[in-house]
């Protein structure tokens, strides 16, 4: 972790917004439904300069109210890094958990964000409560997360948390790997049959930022929109390919899917392949070259005639 100044979230947000160090603050607030947090995007008074804002008590009150609504706890499941694409040319501060911080690193690596305009507020995190389970279980992605403390941050809210041992590969993926192809296919078919092609997974993924995604291409059309599972397969297989060596395993896609499609299995499988084959973990080092943008003359050739 870099520059770990431990601070209070609200105090920091207030200061950053008041001094004009940032124009947009991206954090969390309590959602309208139990056990959940929603994104909270705070602007300095819309379009106005600081001088104007100071003279506008309404805007000031509004700002103060929003800053007061900021939270960080084990409900904050969204990966907010995705919103950086919305505010590309602005000075932004963003709250990131350990996993989310890797998404920021990924975007720095791919030159999608300007580090100079970005203030990263790291939030050490013990895991997010899985709201699909009754009780206090944390998400699988959290249980298997190797970076409970942010890998990059300008400020840190809260003390670092202990990093538990995590398995090299998710036990569920490992078990699936051992099944015969027939059964792996059945599982894939089942997951894909649930998908309604709403694209929430893609739209939530910080690494999916293409101006025109292949799935939205219409001249010609690459992905159909029918309920033939083959269409969902085409979408997901291609997206998985695009995320090879780039997916950080943040789990945003899985948590956001309204149909509970378990994309994690497939992301995890490829992530572990990339790690094993090229020793690469996405989102850990902002100057590293992503493995799928490189090659080795001694790469595996066995599968080629």
């Amino acid at each position: 972790m870099t520059a770990c100044k431990q601070v209070d979230l609200k105090t920091l947000a207030r200061e950053l917004l008041a001094t004009g160090k940032v124009e947009v603050f991206i954090g969390y607030q309590v959602a309208t439904q139990p056990l959940m947090a929603a994104p909270l995007i705070i602007h300095t008074a819309l379009g106005a300069s600081h001088a104007q804002q100071a003279s506008n008590p309404d805007a000031e009150r509004d700002l103060a109210r929003k800053v007061d609504a900021l939270i960080f706890d084990d409900r904050c499941e969204m990966n907010l890094v995705n919103y950086l694409h919305k505010f590309k040319d602005r000075k932004v501060a963003i709250v990131v958990k350990g996993c989310d911080s890797r998404s920021v690193v990924g975007l720095l690596q791919e030159k999608q964000v300007d580090r100079k305009k970005l203030i990263i507020i790291g939030a050490p995190c013990r895991g997010i409560i899985d709201r699909r389970q009754a009780g206090s279980e944390i998400y699988t992605a959290c249980r298997e997360c190797p970076v409970h403390n942010p890998v990059i941050a300008d400020y840190v809210i809260g003390a670092p948390v202990p990093q538990p041992e995590t398995p090299e590969l998710s036990p569920e993926v490992e078990a699936l790997r051992k099944l015969p192809a027939e059964q792996r296919w059945e599982r894939f078919h089942k997951e894909m049959s649930k998908c309604i092609l709403c694209y929430a997974c893609r739209n939530l993924c910080p690494a999916c930022y293409c101006k025109t995604c292949f799935a939205d291409a219409s001249k010609p059309k690459w992905v159909g929109r029918t309920d033939d599972p083959s269409d969902a397969m085409m979408f997901h297989l291609q997206r998985l390919m695009h995320l090879g060596g780039r997916c950080t395993g943040c789990g945003a896609c899985v948590r956001g899917c309204p149909m509970q499609v378990d994309l994690r299995l497939y992301n995890d499988h490829l992530r572990s392949h990339v790690k094993q084959e090229y020793g690469f973990m996405a989102g850990m080092d902002e100057v590293a070259q992503p493995p799928l943008a490189m090659y080795g003359t001694d790469d595996c050739n066995e599968f080629i005639r």
């Binding site: 699936l176 790997r177 192809a181 027939e182 059964q183 792996r184 296919w185 059945e186 599982r187 894939f188 078919h189 292949f214 690459w222 159909g224 029918t226 033939d228 083959s230 269409d231 397969m233 085409m234 297989l237 291609q238 998985l240 390919m241 090879g244 060596g245 497939y266 499988h269 490829l270 392949h273 990339v274 084959e277 493995p291 799928l292 490189m294 090659y295 080795g296 003359t297 790469d299 595996c300 050739n301 599968f303 080629i304 005639r305």
Partner: protein
Amino acid sequence: MNEQHSEWQPRILAFLCNWCSYAGADLAGVSRLQYPPNVRIVRVPCSGRVNPGYILKALQEGVDGVLVSGCHPGDCHYLTGNYHARRKFRLLKELLDFVGVEDGRVQFAWVSAAEGAKFAQVMAEVTEKVRALGPNRRLAKKIGNPKSQ
């Protein structure tokens, strides 16, 4: 070969690099080498030009097998196209294996312009392997023509 497939002929799509495998096919033809007629060829400028999406799309459209063939490592006309392709295809293969698409639906080869005989042999092998797998039912889309399955 499976009994029920005895009438059935696999349809195979081959993406061949213009600088090597395509010329290899030419040489096989000029040398009057026999190879199975199940293969339809798409000429591409380099194996690195083959977007994995093309391979998936071909399977979705109902071909029974896909072959991508390019220049031997080190011989790519564009120097590194096939090296990049190799990583991509490895990833694709990992993915297809894991989701349970039969091994052999998608195959890769390096065939140079001088290897007419190898070209014919690769075509025969690929065709036999796909024939043994039977028709592609997994990734093929059914809605356009439900009869086709």
